[in-house]
């Protein structure tokens, strides 16, 4: 480890340091505002350091390239916003609050490691750091039934999937004798000494582990319950940071090793993508709970992302990266609204909580509308350009079947997004608002929503700068 190695790792080190400092600070003096402030400062520092990144391979485990820096920046920015959302939310709830920020920082660190890892060891370490922090985060309000149930469910399933992942790694190692992505690529390319009987199950098992984290069908069972049970800011975190880190790794691993050029793997991933798009969109139709609707919708969105991933190449990779950014923005925005509307005792997750929102809080209703329309892929929003990018990538690769399914399922998706939008604008009956919720005073969350709305429209109208960054990042994958 040289000084320049450490310098290259600066974003990671800053986030790790944040978690330690916040923990120590909480030990000395418990103060919600202090923990919050330190976390924000640490995350902001890490985000800025991404722009001055030194590009180099650091040990065999991590690589800091434009790709890693791009996703690290995205992850840290999302965590920063989650922290902002959580402040007002936690302030209105019981229990200790400082540890939340420690856990968020740790989980962020894990996700960032995933984005930079080029080796099975760092892959697994990053994943476990992320997961363990998430167990605690999901059941953070441990005095309540739903969060605890969600936490345990996540714990059991995540541990099981980690075992699958580990076994898959072992099989690949047994076959190829290496855990390094680049070396694996060479061996796979030469096709000598490759034993498909070990390799293919290995790849599929690894994909199982990844699929669980991304909530792809058929590994999606935990999603609605965890989304519903976890506190709204944590749900936002699970939906964005955790999936984003994992997707960054998936893209890098398969891009570098070329593992999805094996036709059985290709077929399996295609089936999973199609199943996710259908199941996500169709099951969302049956829900009445906003958090569950968003959970199923996120399954569908992961399906779209998988289509872009499947197309591959610079165009498919770029489409996936752009879509992921759009997905981050709209998901954070949607859960931001849920957070802001939540009452002390329960999260605002029923459709009834949103009835006629436009007539008493028009701005918030419009923000939510914007996020939902973006999820549905309507122009002027980031979600539209993201979907356009994926469809364009698919058309260039001639993947007409996947594209047609994507288009059909996202048309199905329109139904449930519109259902929420319709509810927002219904004229409230006079008796309906007997239990008018007391609006939380949460300037930080309001700020986040304002920023997210601006980004949403900006990306939807003028994506050129972001596209340039993404092309450089994807280019660095080689």
């Amino acid at each position: 480890m040289t000084a320049s190695d450490l310098l290259a790792l600066l974003p990671l080190l800053l986030v790790a340091a944040t978690s330690v400092i916040v923990m120590l600070a909480a030990a000395v003096h418990r103060s919600h505002a202090l923990a919050f402030g330190l976390t924000l400062a640490g995350m902001a520092g890490a985000f800025l350091s991404v722009f001055f990144g030194h590009l180099r391979q650091v040990t065999a485990l991590l690589v800091i390239d434009s790709y890693a820096l791009f996703f690290m920046g995205l992850i840290v920015a999302a965590s920063f916003m989650v922290a902002l959302l959580a402040y007002g939310y936690l302030a209105a709830r019981e229990g200790n609050r400082e540890e939340f920020y420690v856990l968020i920082s740790v989980a962020t660190f894990g996700a960032m490691v995933l984005a930079a890892s080029t080796h099975f060891v760092s892959f697994f370490l990053g994943l476990e750091i992320l997961s363990v922090a998430l167990y605690a985060l999901i059941s953070y309000l441990h005095g309540r039934a739903l969060p605890v149930e969600a936490g345990i469910k996540y714990l059991v399933l995540a541990a099981a999937s980690a075992a699958f992942l580990l076994f898959g790694m072992a099989l690949i190692y047994a076959d190829l004798g290496t855990m390094d992505f680049a070396r694996m690529a060479q061996l796979l390319a030469s096709r000598v000494a490759v034993n498909p009987a070990l390799l293919l199950p290995g790849i599929i098992l690894i994909f199982t582990g990844i699929g669980f984290k991304l909530a792809l069908v058929p590994f999606h069972m935990w999603t609605p319950d965890v989304y519903e049970g976890a506190p709204a800011p944590v749900t936002a975190f699970v939906a964005t940071v955790s999936k984003g880190g994992m997707f960054a790794l998936l893209l890098r691993y398969f891009h570098q090793s070329g593992a999805h050029s094996f036709s059985p793997v290709f077929l399996v991933i295609s089936i999973i993508a199609v199943a996710s798009m259908f199941a996500g969109n169709l099951l969302a139709l049956l829900q009445n709970n906003v958090k569950r609707i968003l959970a199923y919708s996120s399954i569908a969105h992961m399906g779209y992302l998988l289509v872009a991933f499947q197309i591959g190449g610079p165009l498919g990779g770029g489409a996936a990266a752009f879509y992921l950014v759009a997905y981050f923005v709209m998901t954070l925005g949607a859960f931001g609204v849920v957070t802001l509307l939540s009452e002390r005792q329960r999260d605002a997750d029923l459709l009834d909580d949103y009835r006629g929102l436009f007539w008493h809080r028009p701005t918030l209703a419009l923000v939510f509308t914007g996020m939902l329309l973006s999820l549905a892929g309507i122009p002027l929003t980031a979600g539209f350009l993201g979907k356009f990018y994926i469809v364009a990538a698919g058309a260039s690769a001639g993947a007409w079947a996947l594209i047609l399914i994507l288009v059909t399922t996202s048309a199905i998706g329109l139904f449930y997004y519109l259902r929420i939008v319709v509810v927002l604008y219904q004229q409230p009956a006079a008796s309906d608002r007997a239990h008018e919720p007391i609006p939380l005073r949460a300037p930080a969350a309001t700020l986040v929503l304002a920023a997210l709305t601006v980004i949403l429209v900006w990306l939807g109208v003028y994506p050129t700068p972001l596209l340039r960054v993404i092309q450089r990042a994807i280019g660095s994958l080689g």
């Binding site: 469809v391 364009a392 329109l414 139904f415 596209l467």
Partner: protein, 496 residues
Amino acid sequence: MILLWLIVVLLAGGVLAWLAARTNPLLCRWISLAAISLDFVLVLGLGIRNFKASGIQVSVTGTNNWFEQVDWSWIPQFGIHFHLAMDGLSLLLVLLTMFLGIASVLASWTEITTGVGFFHFNVLWILAGITGVFLALDLFLFYFAWELMLVPMYFLIAIWGHERRIYAAVKFFLFTQLSGLLMLIAILALYFAHYRGTGVYTFEYADLLHTTLDPHTAMWIMLGFFIAFAVKLPMVPFHTWLADAHTEAPTAGSIILAGLLLKTGAYGLIRFVVPLFPGAARQFAPVAMTLAVVGILYGAILAFGQTDLKRLVAYTSISHLGFVLLGVFAANALALQGALMTMICHGISTGALFIVVGALQQRMHTRQMDAMGGLWATIPRMSGAALFFALASLGLPGLGDFIGEFLVLVGTYQVNVAMAAVAAVGVLTATFYALRFVQRAFQGPNSHAWQLRDLVVREGLLLGVMMALLLWLGLYPQPVFRLFAQAVNQFPAIWR
């Protein structure tokens, strides 16, 4: 630059109107009116200036006849440009857009009382989207504008509509969105086909015109475009959203839907489908013409069976737009001239009918013909106006609609006598539904003893101007034909 301003004025006007409504709803109405009127004057000025200078030409073939354009690089990574351009065809349609925009703001002056600001915001943004559709020359921009008009229209129906508004709004949205996605795929297929041929990524209309496609691919891509436009038009069997959307929308929504949104479909056929895929369009023409004739008759028969006035007017649109489709695919100069004329006149006469029906509903709180009868006794001026526009709709000689449909029939006759004959029956059926409308609602004894307020000055002036326009177009359509002349003369050549 001025083309950009047309859109910016509407977008900014919408935001301003919304903000103004917080303090004063009346101010909001005036701001909306001012913004649209400003655009109207700008377009008119543009037209007059160029009319004097060179005579306006239409460039259906994409030869450089645009007399006004802006072209900026927008998303260079994909070769997307912000390219707006205007020729005679867009000029007339944008002029119609602004005119009906003014009409819809005036028509909702007293009708809309809740959420006034957001209402006008939506109206102005729809108009901006429609203007974008008529001006866009980059296919990505075209799709962008095409989708942009949906969301505010959805709100217009879902928030200010009548009894079954949610159902109608969702149906409208799904139909248009799904067909729009088909068009997106078609656009991308064309884009990549062009890339494979030339190595250049571009959405530019003029470039894509020269894409070489094998006939099979061309047919598929053409169908993608065609279905999107056919849903908007609407062509049977994609028409089912129309009756619900028109019926449930507030008056302004119905005017914009019938007068403008349907025209975007026809415009797409003329501007994109035929020039981009002449071969495929020629092959497909018999099918399209058959469906058009079916639509003419089917719409007329359904209109005859309605008791809900708005629904009746809505179904007549299916019938009239059938003539437009027929005129486009008859592939000769006369028929196209007729189709274009029908587009303009249908916009005005149907818009006016919706204003009358809307005014009736506001006064009577019903749209059912059974509850009416003998209204002439209490509201003679409005009844007279209704008679006038009903006659226009049935194609009375001397009024604009007649010229349009007559030319379509003459043009079609040259291509296919049978189709022309069947379509002519459609004109006949129009007489039935139009006269039935007038008889049942306005004539006979006033058996329900209605005492209603006749047209106020605002409504009277508006309808008066619309009558004058229809008379002018019916008696002296030459200036409009001159605008279309070039397009019409080039049009048959495209098909060969």
